[in-house]
């Protein structure tokens, strides 16, 4: 099913819709949004569009059996990663779970290396060793891509610990889903972060469901409010509105960077696709609910309407951004297709630093066994 931006956008019609539906986002007036130039706004919009087109293209590749394993699409949640990552400074870091393509694009990873990773190719960001759930780009302060629900949250806390230890003014954003909040490791990390005042923001991407279990069926109470039990600040914001994401996150990022204060931010969002592409998505939520979100809350549509109303986007510009995103995703698929697979010889590389750096090896004995 095509997502809303698939239909040819009409700027005027959209502007009218935006006008009649609601007026401009209240978050637009936040200083962090006021300082956005036209070009910045177009860049945010473009990144969201690139995520969507990348995900749609990867779905087609999956259906064509080019991709193995799981594929968890970020479609519908684009404003969250893009809003958060657009605020990153030199010493800010990101870590997330297995629904990790959106964050990867938002921190600036190229589509080629990502698509190639999905194809299991040697040119992939993890040389074909991680797959969809395990993208990494430490050079962009992006620490994955983690497959165990909630398992990345102590790691994100550790990134913050390292920042504080080194005296760097930065923050770690540790993303998780609404299902992850019930993991013990998450609560342990909350306690450590608050106890030691570590500059970490725990970002709950609340898309309403953990696989097929709705929030109401898995979590007691308000998700963000749990922070209060650990004496941490918390807030909730609208993940369909990139301005709101930025305005809310900016406050907490500043507190983290300047005063080394942790926080929990729940960002309400929605995924249109199944949990993974293997999920037929026909048992646990009504179709009408998905349609309602698509029609009224799609983050790209919402932002597009806002930018048209602001006079930043025109029909022609939207069309060219969309076409470029599609072309880029297509080129990434071609790149992935043309790339070589790793060889069986590569299986045992990247296991030990020492094995990969034999000249500097200090230990002796066998590292690998038959």
């Amino acid at each position: 099913m095509p997502s809303p931006v698939n239909k040819k956008p009409s700027a005027t019609a959209d502007a009218k819709a935006a006008d009649s539906a609601q007026s401009a986002s209240p978050a637009l007036s936040a200083p962090i949004n006021q300082q956005l130039t036209k070009a910045d706004k177009i860049a945010l919009f473009t990144t969201m569009m690139r995520i969507r087109r990348f995900e749609e293209r990867s779905l087609r590749a999956y259906q064509a059996k080019k991709i193995g394993g799981f594929l968890h699409l970020y479609i519908g949640q684009e404003a969250v990663a893009v809003g958060c990552c657009s605020l990153m400074g030199k010493n800010d870091h990101v870590i997330t779970a297995y629904r990790d393509h959106g964050h990867a694009i938002a921190v600036g990873m190229g589509l080629n290396e990502q698509m190639a990773e999905l194809y299991g190719k040697a040119t992939g960001c993890s040389k074909g060793k991680g797959g969809s759930m395990h993208f990494f780009a430490p050079d962009r302060n992006y620490w994955g891509g983690h497959g165990i629900v909630g398992g990345q949250i102590p790691l994100g806390t550790g990134l913050a610990y390292a920042l504080k230890y080194k005296g760097l003014k930065g923050a770690a954003m540790a993303f998780m889903g609404d299902g992850a909040v019930n993991q013990g490791a998450v609560h342990e990390a909350y306690n450590l972060a608050s106890l030691w005042q570590l500059p970490v923001i725990f970002v709950i991407e609340n898309n309403g469901y953990s696989m097929g279990t709705s929030q109401e069926r898995s979590s007691a109470g308000d998700l963000g409010k749990r922070a209060a039990g650990y004496d941490m600040a918390w807030a909730s914001c609208d993940g369909h509105d990139v301005y709101d994401v930025r305005a809310t996150m900016d406050k907490f990022l500043q507190l983290a960077r300047e005063e080394s204060k942790p926080a929990v931010v729940e960002i309400r969002t929605y995924r249109y696709r199944g949990h993974s592409v293997a999920d037929p998505d026909n048992t646990y939520r009504p179709k009408a609910e998905i349609e309602e979100y698509r029609k009224t809350k799609d983050p790209i549509q919402v932002f597009q309407q806002a930018l048209v109303a602001e006079g930043v986007l025109t029909d022609a510009l939207i069309e060219s951004i969309d076409q470029a995103a599609r072309a880029e995703a297509e080129a990434a698929a071609e790149f992935a297709e043309a790339s070589p697979f790793p060889t069986p010889d590569d299986i045992q590389k990247d296991v030990y630093w020492e094995a990969d750096n034999p000249a500097e090896r200090k230990s002796q004995g066998r590292l690998f066994f038959d």
Binding site: H93, I95, G124, C125, S126, K127, G128, K129, G130, H134, F136, A137, P138, D139, W143, G144, G145, H146, G147, I148, G151, Q152, I153, P154, L155, G156, T157, G158, L159, Y161, A162, L163, Y165, K166, G184, A185, E188, A189, N191, L192, L195, Q348, K349, D350, V351, Y352, W353, E354, D356, N357, K362, S363, Q364, G365, R366, L367, F368, F369, D370
Partner: protein
């Protein structure tokens, strides 16, 4: 050479490495103000201050995971587990995150963490506190596993572990903490993956590590005196990497092998050793490879019976005589 305890040897290694590298930080339950549940870290807080020596809440998954994350950004955390037995509540952080992150990132991320603490039975603390997880840990490619038996080895190996760029799991022994041994005053390192022949002999090779080395040496002494049997004792010191060459050289000399380990039998370190010895030195063997392990049950509490559940010199002598039949 100064005589110091195993505990002091570990402490000295920590102190020297804390001194050498400001990114080394010691974290764990009770390591700072309480001076360590087994007093290994005594005095370190006073010397290095609370930034370097950090008391954590009882939160193994949280703080070990935090250490793993910090190590990805260049910190070199040395995390104390009050008992290695508690690794089970941090299993995901240790064996999914620390062990896999380098691989899954295609070699982009390193995890130079050390996790250390005691892993042994024999102190009548029951099944929950007596695990010996070296086989479980070593089953995970990407990690290194070290089990020192003497103060000298403990110090030299720990210093190497802290400088290592891969995750190293360092398994100590509460019963050995008070044992004294000669340790040079000058700095030295022992490379991981280098076994040590602790006693030379010609009739039987005992391959062992950890506290079982001491039992094996005591047994070897008696076997020599009472049975005129000459036993060679090979201390692996490191489980992964594994110095199989030293083991095979000894087998080529004695042609008989007894593996002694404080492991449960199923898929133990000894199972792997036995496989490798038969595969790589089949023609050298004059008889089947024998193995003495902990008696296969959860650790019993009853003090006199726990001694019998674990390898001890008497059980080793019996097993050695069987191996030589």
């Amino acid at each position: 050479m100064p005589l110091i305890t195993y505990r002091e040897a570990i402490r000295h290694a920590l102190a020297e490495e804390l001194e050498r590298d400001k990114n080394v930080v010691v974290l764990g339950e009770e390591v700072a103000q309480f001076h360590g549940a087994y007093k290994v870290t005594e005095g370190l807080l006073e010397k290095f201050g609370p930034k370097r020596i950090v008391d954590t809440p009882i939160s193994e998954a949280g703080f070990i995971g935090m250490g793993v994350g910090a190590s990805m950004l260049g910190i070199r955390p040395v995390m104390e587990l009050m008992f290695w037995s508690f690794y089970s509540v941090a299993f995901d952080q240790i064996l999914n995150n620390a062990a896999n992150v380098r691989y899954m990132s295609g070699g982009l991320i390193n995890c130079p963490i050390v996790i250390r603490g005691p892993a042994n039975g024999g102190t009548n603390v029951g099944a929950t506190h007596s695990h010996t997880p070296e086989n479980v840990l070593a089953n995970h490619p990407g990690v290194k596993v070290v089990v020192p038996s003497t103060p000298y080895d403990a110090k030299g190996l720990l210093k190497s572990a802290i400088r290592d760029n891969d995750p190293v799991f360092f398994l100590e022994n509460t019963i050995l903490y008070g044992d004294k041994g000669e340790v040079p005053a000058d700095e030295y390192l022992i490379p991981l993956g280098l076994a040590d022949v602790k006693r030379e002999g010609s009739d039987l090779t005992i391959v062992t590590y950890g506290r079982c080395v001491l039992h094996s040496l005591a047994a070897a002494e008696l076997l020599q005196k009472e049975h005129d049997i000459s036993v060679e004792v090979v201390d692996l010191r490191s489980i992964r990497p594994l110095d199989i060459d030293t083991v095979l050289a000894s087998v080529a000399k004695t042609h008989r092998v007894l593996i002694v380990e404080e492991q449960k039998p199923f898929s133990s370190v000894g199972s792997q050793l036995a496989f490798m010895i038969q595969k790589e030195a089949f023609d050298e063997l004059d008889g089947p490879i024998h193995r003495l392990t902990t008696v296969d049950a959860p650790a019993i509490y009853s003090p006199p019976v726990e001694i019998e559940q674990l390898p001890n010199p008497q059980r080793i002598i019996k097993a050695a005589l069987e191996a030589l039949q």
